[in-house]
Amino acid sequence: MKTRLVLTTALLSATALPAFSEGVLNIYNFGLYTPPDLIEKFEKTYDVKVTVTEYDSNETAIAKIEAGGHGFDIVVPSASVVPIYIEKGLLLKSDPNTMENFKNVAPEWASVAWDPDRSYTVPWVWGTTGIMVNKDVYAGDINTSAIFLDPPEELKGKINVVPSMNDVIDLAIMYVGGQPCTTDKEVLKAARDKLVAAKPHWASIDYASFEKFINEDLQASVFWSGASIRIRAENSGFTYGFPKEGFLKWQDNVAILADAQNVDNARLFLNFIMDPENAALISNYTGYGNGISGSEAFMTADLLAAPEMTIPADFASVARFQETCPPETQELYSRIWTDLTK
């Protein structure tokens, strides 16, 4: 009797599902990047059921979206790939600039090179790619890419490098004195040689889980500023460094997909995250700045005080905003990467 009851309830709830289909939203975002409390608040406010699916890199996301049949409504591309999304016609021109909360977007993020009128995207978060080191293990200067390219003795065999091809090669090119996306083969060769020579000293090339640092299985990494904040909260030994040879600044953006099924809910979401209080939820969770004016008032004191959040004045001049490299350069990057990871 009990079994039958359970079965009936299961059937009932199964048949009841389509009734909710009006109120759903499918978000496709990087891993560990979507605050649960933000989603909960959105679901309660608009009575919409949100599903979050995660990916590990921009390339994975583009490949899956281009293949079609994915069912996602919202994606979070980095600034460097937004032009590719637009060129391939993958994004809906949803005109966020006409939305109620667009007035909150900070002036420096309101008109940007990759989406001049913000007619496709709204800011998610911005951050930097630098170096994170456990100062208990290595006390020297950590504001340098030498940490992973000419590693000090103490860190050898304990270094991770994120398998984010463009980040790693860009940092190496700047270390040998070039500019990201360069076509100068001498510079590229020097960067390749530097990377290949340094690789034996690395422990892994991995999107390593935060636990590996918290447990000190790994003691240093090429990493993103927000990840550093989150790890530092659990293991205060770690510190974030801004490489003086040059480091990367980037922004990730929220956009509606051209083949989205739930466009109205997606628009609600775009407008929702431009609200300062909600944008602060994103920052508090991810550890990155968000580009919405007035959100500081809702950020935690820890986050506001975090050194990762403010690029020191001495290093501001070597911050490079990450761009899309032309296909020819991209091919060279890809071959350097295969050479490195073989």
Binding site: S57, E59, T60, I62, A63, E66, V81, I84, K88, G157, N160, P163, M165, K185, L188, K189, R192, K199, W202, A203, S204, I205, D206, A208, N215, E216, D217, P327, Q330, E331, L332, S334, R335, I336, W337, T338, D339, T341, K342
Partner: protein, 303 residues
């Protein structure tokens, strides 16, 4: 007349057989041959600028499987990167097969020699790992070999070592993970072969004054050889294309073929090369299978 009737009957029979086979043929055609055809076509196209392909014929994908133009001076040479990865994949797969063989055959022997009523229980124990997702199991193995993991803690507690042995992200770690994951695939076919073995033959061998080793070599092994070969193929083939285990256990620092293929479809943005590499891997597997069929059919002819 009689022959005509016979021909008709045979024709009807053939038609019926085809009709019965149709569902299976359709499924194989739709889900196996057609996708493979797509892969073949893509391997002859030109990579698109940011992933995907341009519909322009090109042999570059296949050329790049084995050769490379130097990034900096355009000279053509054998692709060192791809050959290294290929060599590593084959070597690690062979090593995995060997380890599972060494651990799996005695295990299978142990189970097959239990009383009939108990065997099901032991087999059941072998299949338990299949209940858990591969990813979870792989991460669990990694948890054990961490610097602060069970093994290092235990060795330190026993006073065998002072400092933890770094085992994470090494070839040893990849091997350990793969051997663990693929071990049941070796045990099951070997068990099936040993279970069919008539132990009276071994007794007869002893009666004829065969030593234990001689009996194993000349009486037991020939009978269970097919099971051992089947197990080896079942381990070797998926090892070649293994993706998750090398990625997690190896820390992404050393690629195997599966990882190289994935890179081409992701960050490498070279789908034709990825497709050509997949087909090259398929060809490699085919060679292993043909070799297996040769071995076993020769066996039957001799037997």
């Amino acid at each position: 007349m009689a022959t005509d009737v016979e021909t008709l009957a045979i024709r009807a029979d053939t038609r019926r057989r085809w009709a019965l086979a149709l569902p299976a043929v359709t499924i194989i055609g739709l889900f196996s041959i057609l996708p493979l055809g797509v892969v073949v076509v893509y391997s002859f196209l030109t990579p698109g600028d940011y992933g995907n392909v341009k519909w322009v014929f090109s042999l570059d994908g296949w050329f790049q499987v084995l050769f490379e133009r130097d990034i900096f001076d355009d000279t053509v040479s054998l692709s060192d990167a791809h050959l290294t990865i290929l060599g590593r994949s084959v070597a690690l797969s062979l090593a995995t097969t060997l380890i599972t063989l060494i651990l799996g055959v005695p295990t299978a022997w142990f189970i097959a020699t239990r009383p009939a009523g108990q065997r099901a229980f032991w087999l059941f124990l072998i299949t338990i790992p299949f209940w858990t997702n591969l990813l979870v199991r792989t991460i669990a193995v990694q948890e054990m070999i961490r610097n602060e993991g069970i093994f290092n803690r235990l060795f330190q507690w026993l006073g065998l070592i002072d400092d933890p042995i770094p085992m994470m992200f090494t070839n040893f770690a990849i091997l350990l993970g793969m051997a663990y994951v693929f071990l049941p695939l070796m045990v099951l076919p070997v068990y099936a072969a040993i279970e069919r073995f008539d132990f009276r033959l071994a007794e007869a061998g002893y009666d004829l004054y065969a030593s234990r080793v001689y009996c194993l070599r000349k009486v037991v092994l020939p009978q269970v050889k097919a099971g051992i070969i089947a197990g080896s193929i079942l381990v070797f083939v998926p090892s070649l294309g293994a993706y998750v285990t090398p990625r997690i256990m190896g820390g992404g620092k050393t690629m195997m073929l599966g990882n190289l293929i994935e890179t081409q479809f992701g960050q490498g943005r070279n789908w034709p090369l990825g497709a050509a590499l997949s087909l090259a891997l398929t060809a490699l597997v085919l060679v292993a299978l043909v070799w297996y069929t040769r071995l076993t059919t020769k066996e039957r002819r001799n037997g």
